[in-house]
Amino acid sequence: MGDCHGCSGATITLKAPSEPKVRKHIVAMVGPPNSGKSTLFNRLTGLRQKVANFPGVTVEHRVGRAKLPRPTPGLHGDVYLVDLPGVYSMAPRSEDEQVTHDVLAGEMKGIPKPDAVLLILDSTNLGRHLVLAAPILNLGLPTLVILNMADDLHARGGEVDPAALALQLGAPVALVSATRGDGVDKVFQFMAGSAAGSPAMKKPLMELPVLNNIPHCRQWATNVGNKTGYQAPAAPLWTRRLDGIFLHPVIGPLIFLGVVVAVFQTIFSGAQPLMNGVSAFIQVSGNWMTALLPDSALRSLLIGGVWKGVGAVVVFLPQILLLFLFIGILEDSGYLARAALIADRTMAKFGLQGKSFIPLLSAYACAVPAIMATRTIENKRDRIATILIAPFMTCSARLPVYTLVIAAFIPERHLIGGLLGTQAAAMLGLYVLGFLAAIGTARLLKSTVLRTNRTPFMLEMPPYRWPTMRSLGLRMYDRSKVFLRRAGTVILGVAIVIWVLANLPLHEGKAPLIADSLAGTIGHTVEPVIRPLGFNWKIGIGLITSLAAREVIVGTLGTIYGIDETTQSEGLQQALHNDLSPGGAIALLIFFAFAMQCMSTIAVVRRETGGWKWPAIQFTYMSVLAWLGAFAANHVVQAFWH
């Protein structure tokens, strides 16, 4: 790679490959939190990956493929990029650091030792970020030091000389802006060079410091900065100004509340036209297919079973996309860190520490990544407490259930001068209920089995940034893929099984009434247990199938009401409205707020806690709470209804 001008000074020599390589070329990406590592990963791979302006979000390592612009001798296929968790040091203390350490040392199962390293540092805060360069360079792997956020550095009047820095460190240095794509070609050049043969690392001019001694490492970083004429940028003025508003004693909490209300109102009413559109499409296309196909068991399976079952769930795609759009904007802009700051006092009262806040917030999307994100919590007991309460946060899979029942039973009225509708308010209430259950459980756990000393709260406040359309778009694309894949596999499968169970045993060669079918028998068997909650046997079938995933109940009910002749002509919402008492409807909402109806969550808790003990306790606790809550709700509503 003689033409590697971009790599600023460091000549990368090409070693003739002695034999044709067939193994994958693996490049690891390392950097402190908030260095823009995930953004660069997206840039290089085009693969979906969560980007956040928030410490500790990238917990699992992600693997992606980068396509080099030009074919490279010795390389078969693409370069495999491994995105490691954000770390400040290589001392393996938290599980994040352990993962990073293990991968780079080649001790991680399933990932061979990387062939090269991309070290991503924030150029606007080089003094502190360079501290990580010492242990990484000490590994002796071919390393490209990437100074990210170059646009921000220059805008705020900072200066850095990549060539001088490369000389001091003995490694190539590239100045990059991952959000704008400037300088990314240099990263590709480096990867092509490392794939073609090992680029020789030079001896650094500045001797590396004693590792594990932070003041010493920091002094070394200052010296390197001074020798290379690094000019730190001016303070981020806009961030200060915005903090003046968002953290204002009066305006700050008002904005916090305003943001929450706006999100709920938009998710509920903003998504409605889109959802009506999807719903109408499914209805019309279903009728159209019915007219086209001959009357047979196959038609009943396709239309009544599959189309109505899967369609009932797919309707909620616009709503889930809107939710993820909002979470994305809050995370990427840096507001989420301020929200964590505002919420910390409340969290502390329930014995939770600040670091628990990040996983709990992402549990609003889905409990599975949230539980994996608890790996940033060093304290074992704090971590288990956070894992145990995460499924109480209202995940996006509850959204279809809530929306369906609320729309069917709660009449829309305007509250607070039209700012908030009753339906959105009911939804907000369910979110609050889940949150209260979570912190109540946390308090119970932290004052009994999981008692610990208070762990200090330390949270870096990233500067505010504009979320990019690219990152938000990738996030939503990724989500719809996950959602539709589930609709196409689990929900499709359940819909077919339910259809078969609802049509057997054959009665004089014809399908039985649904109440007499196998599905009906199963529903009737569980009915005594759920009757006190105000549920009938149809809901019973839904509760059983929703053990796989919460939104499955919507698909199941869609299938059941779609097959049943008395409700066939009605929409799911209308059918449910006629079939369920108001008490049962509210009880159903409460049940779903508390119950742990999710196979994936149970599996991930088992994996993260290393055994069946905690998931078993958690499932029992949440199911009992759900039953009791639903029982109470049913009886209270009944008492007031008459």
């Binding site: 040091s89 502190r128 953290l247 505002i342 200090p456 709260f457 330390m458 949270l459 870096e460």
Partner: protein, 98 residues
């Protein structure tokens, strides 16, 4: 890295440190030079990774609406700490006039 500042404290006696000012006492906009971290070693390590190193200038920024946690500007970044943690980060006796 040993951070047994408590030992040093015992040797020199309390008198010298009786007027010690901590980060918790800084008001918005005030600054001081960090002298030592009177916290367990693992916590000290985390704080130092975030920039709270002896000798660094720490400036008190805004706080959350309730007054706590509060933001400190140190070593080019802004980090939020609760008052209970800040009370264990001790400043040098004569901070530079600002």
């Amino acid at each position: 890295m040993q951070l047994s500042f408590k030992k040093k404290l015992r040797r020199t006696g309390w008198d010298l440190y009786s007027r010690a000012v901590t980060l918790a006492e800084l008001r918005e906009g005030q600054q001081g030079v960090l002298d030592r971290l009177d916290v367990p070693e693992d916590v000290a390590r985390r704080l130092m990774e975030l920039g709270f190193l002896p000798g660094h200038i720490v400036t008190r920024g805004r706080s959350a609406p309730g007054g706590d946690p509060r933001i400190f500007r140190v070593d080019g970044s802004e980090v939020a700490l609760r008052g209970e943690t800040a009370a264990h980060l001790i400043l040098r006796l004569e901070p530079p006039s600002c």
